[in-house]
Symmetry: C2
Subunit: 108 residues, 2 copies
DNA sequence: ACTTTTAATCGCAACATTGCGATAAATTAC
DNA sequence: GTAATTTATCGCAATGTTGCGATTAAAAGT
């Protein structure tokens, strides 16, 4: 007898979808994902070399992508090897394509 | 001879994808889109009635979705009628599904 | 005319994001 | 051991986001 509104914003599916979308919500992070798709594997320095951003900034974007579960980062000696995380990318595909079909069904 | 980094972050496709993803990057906005898909059409008040958020907050989320091109809002007398915007939803589907296929191809 | 209804906007507070340079931590090379 | 390399983290500034209540603006009902 406390709830009056009927839509919950804590639905795990919606939360996860929003988190993934948020991680995609910056051009640099999309560019990083595409780069990882091309090269399969990248050190942080490889990415910094290629993006017009400072190393610390790239490192932050990598951290965001990692905590959204979209990439993995394994320490290899001095460096860290970043890869796409298949599980996360599957979530991205399934959740967002499910959402967009749900939306497109009624509006088009 | 000013550019040294090879990846541009001003690629319009990447920018548009990021903008769409950013608009999806909050649970309330995803919930609003789903609600519009269900009901085809909503006034701001319908949405406020159903979400655990104040009217002003809902209005702000609607503004964000509208400026990302995902919904339209037509004034009808005192009220505003919100709908999914087919063009925007098509962008959402094509850009994000294109991105996720591109990513999933190499990682899975 | 006045009140009610609806939605947008303002003002505010709290917090998050983006970006950078500088620094720290850890491994590798000498 | 010392120096060089690589990445993460810190500190900082600027800006953006999220949320609310209060107010404004505009239309509709009385």
């Amino acid at each position: 007898m406390t709830k009056t509104k009927s839509i919950e914003l804590n639905d795990p599916t919606i939360i996860r979808s929003a988190a993934i979308a948020k991680a995609l919500g910056h051009p640099a992070r999309i560019a990083i994902l595409k780069l990882l798709a091309q090269r399969k594997t990248c050190f942080c320095g490889d990415i910094t070399e290629v993006l017009p951003l400072a190393q610390s900034t790239v490192s932050q974007h990598l951290k965001a992508l990692k905590s959204a579960g979209l990439i993995t980062g394994e320490v290899e000696g001095v460096r860290t090897c970043y890869c796409l995380n298949p599980d996360g990318i599957k979530d991205l595909k399934s959740l967002l394509s499910e959402l967009s079909s749900e939306l497109i069904k009624t509006c088009c």
